[in-house]
Point group: C2
């Protein structure tokens, strides 16, 4: 945090221009290529670490280390915690353990753990060796918590005061202590066992007279976060109760850390991104991954899809005689499967999202399934009539129209059912519905679509 008076208040327009423009990135990339240190130092002097991190991500990979060399000690360590994980891991790989340790020493513990957690065990140990005993203990404790748990998110620096203090003592304590957290929004009140018993928002503390007892103005209805709580659950708490910060407690109920809402902003983003990508069959954000890793993260879903598509083809092949007799069926069959797949994807996406936000529960599941059935019947009927007329007009046979219409209604109803039941069932089985729902639902609508259409045609038309 910068408390000095920056002289650079002149360019108001630039203040409103957030993020990097393509021109600026191009200009800076050219400067890196030309090795123009003076230009880069001058230009990036007052940049926020997050913008510098973005710039590094935008640079051609081979220029990134060059850039870091040019900037050297003008780079704040925070840049490393703001970087995309893949880009950071690439850069850190090229650094000496002592260099990494120098960066980590300057970071908050949660950010330091972020940088270290993806390293190989051996290299991690070498970096840890370079840290001071105190830092090493803090980082090792951080690493001891499970990934994506509250323990990894929390900061250990916090303000806790005993319940018998008053506001004056609290303020004096804050003024006299040098080693305070950078940012905090509330003061925790603890009992002699160091259990949190209340909180005082800073603004309330500021408005209170010095002789007011902290006990008398604290909120006792605080939401405590067990240190092993999953970060998705932590994010839910912050959203649900509009929290600014919350105390983290260990298994004995002792106050051991604090999570603030700005850490949660990133978690919410990450979790929503994860669901978005998983639904599309991508296991993680791979924009900045190298080619091989990207191909690998995309591979499993395509492989599963190869099997499910082949299964659908096997279903089709049972009706090859029917198709040979009436080739129009082969022409029309993808329409039924395609619309079914889309209707199913709509339902399952709403369901996956509603499960994530805890809006879809056992209490309303059957009611919402019922609603989905009616929606499917409405849209299904409309599209059945449409496709029936198209098929009749196209191939001049009303029976083909009737067959495809019947198959369409069936498949859209199946889509609505599968779109609800598959994610709900996976969720009950403690499988992330975002991962596996799509493949189950679209395989179902493909196979049902083909079989309903070709099967009905076999019965009616042959």
């Amino acid at each position: 945090m910068n408390a000095s008076n920056s002289p650079d208040d002149s360019n108001e327009e630039e203040i409103i221009q957030y993020g990097l423009s393509d021109e600026v990135v191009q200009e800076l990339q050219d400067a890196v290529e030309a090795g123009d240190a003076d230009f880069l130092h001058a230009k990036l002097d007052d940049w926020h670490s997050a913008d510098i991190a973005d710039l590094i991500e935008q640079l051609k990979p081979k220029l990134r280390s060059t850039f870091l060399d040019i900037m050297a000690d003008k780079i704040e360590p925070d840049v490393y915690s703001d970087l995309d994980e893949n880009v950071r891991d690439d850069l850190v790989e090229d650094m000496e353990p002592a260099e990494i340790a120098a960066v980590i020493t300057e970071l908050e513990v949660d950010d330091a753990v972020d940088v270290l957690e993806d390293m190989e065990e051996e290299e991690q140990q070498e970096v840890l060796k370079e840290l001071s005993a105190e830092d090493r203990a803090a980082v090792e404790e951080g690493l001891s918590f499970e990934e994506d748990s509250a323990g990894r998110l929390m900061q250990r620096d916090l303000i806790a005061v005993p319940e018998y203090w008053n506001i004056g003592q609290t303020i004096d304590f804050l003024r006299d202590t040098d080693d305070l957290p950078n940012e905090f929004y509330e003061i925790f009140v603890v009992d002699p066992r160091h259990h949190p018993i209340g909180t005082i928002p800073l603004n309330r503390a500021m408005r209170s007279k010095r002789d007011v007892a902290v006990r008398d103005i604290m909120d006792t209805e605080q939401k405590l976060i067990p240190v092993d709580m999953d970060q998705e659950e932590v994010a839910y708490l912050f959203q649900q109760y509009s929290l600014a910060s919350a105390a983290v407690v260990n298994a004995n109920g002792m106050l051991i850390g604090v999570i603030t809402v700005d850490d949660i902003v990133d978690v919410i983003s990450e979790e929503a991104e994860e669901d978005l990508l998983l639904l599309a069959g991508v296991s993680e954000d791979d924009l900045f991954e190298n080619v091989l890793s990207t191909a690998r993260t995309r591979f499993p879903w395509l492989l599963i899809n190869l099997f499910t598509a082949t299964a659908a083809s096997v279903a089709i092949s049972m009706f090859d005689a029917t198709m040979e007799a009436i080739i129009a069926l082969a022409v029309l069959m993808p329409i039924v499967a395609s619309l079914g797949g889309n209707a199913g994807t709509q339902t399952l996406t709403v369901a996956v999202r509603a499960l994530a936000t805890k809006e879809l529960t056992a209490a309303n599941m059957w009611r919402i399934l019922g609603k989905e059935m009616i929606v499917a019947a409405l849209n299904g009927s409309f599209f059945a009539v449409m496709i029936g007329l198209i098929a009749w007009g196209w191939f001049g046979d009303p029976i083909i129209g009737l067959v495809i219409a019947a198959a369409m209604v069936t498949n859209i109803l199946v889509a609505g059912t599968a779109g609800m039941l598959v994610p709900v069932t996976l969720d009950k089985l403690n499988i992330d519905p975002a991962v596996a729902s799509s493949v189950f639902v679209t395989t179902t609508t493909d196979i049902i679509g083909f079989v309903a259409f070709l099967g009905l045609a076999t019965i009616v038309l042959l």
Copy 2:
């Protein structure tokens, strides 16, 4: 905010149990059905408004008004702002303008605007008439800002002090003023024209001695938010710079409001949800919408899909003679389209997300397209060999295997290209890539998949 000492500190286990369990919802729903007011009043006495809102959402729709009647004045107005939009609109429809006005009076302006904005013009006017002149002016001003803009998100209540004050004066002002915002994290410093020139985080103010000038400890590097900035952009700012709160300025640069990070948490969630749903062809979260509205929101995408699927069928029909000659082609053709569609969806989802987070830009677009091509070539080659062998083994004809393999490589390369170029192009045209990318990409991979496979087969096999 509750500053009293709650006697209910005994059940520590329940504190850790967040969110509503299915059993609790069932129990409470039964109580509503039985009209058991005493039970409900006792049980819900210390519930947070967000949990009561969740309970209302979980209740059968016909029980919701009953519940509100039973709870009557025991319901905090905040419950209304915590409710899902669809559920709230249903409930508000049944209320008298005076009742709605009574609720709105108790809400913060941004929440009041939320409740009012979806009402019909005429009803909105009737409610506004019931408000006090001051509240009406504030709400009308709120409504005058564009939906989803910073003006709708901001709170007008904030602490601004002149630059010539010192910390002592600031603290005395806070202590002596009754009508302060409920929650605030920083103090704004303004010049005589009421332009914001700096901010002081509360924790810094608390640690400073009374005689320190605010000018000397303020941060001047603040991020200002123009009142008409889109909320997605505002969310980006908060995330990028880890802001706790930020000043909102009007066109003249005057400080007119403040946005705090807890409002942003909801925006980030909403925007991510919007992208997720749009990619699946659902225009808004419709879990709590009624049947007709839900069918309507799902309809357009299915209609577009009907046309694109029919277009794909037309493409297939050009090769009906080929399929009649070799029915195996009809059996196999969905596999090529299906894998192409999936590969395309993977790429486009990563691209849509990266555009939203400003990680994919003009500066790195060609590089990342190049990467996608290599990924497609790698995975495409593998799956080409796989499906080639499957087809050969299945139909005993190596030429069919070669044809499907060639079509598969082609289609996965096309999928990678379209998956990148379609969202980037839409974004350049200022069309939300989340809305329209899927349909373009999957139509492309369907048609190319069918045409490449059947066309090649016509050339090679006939």
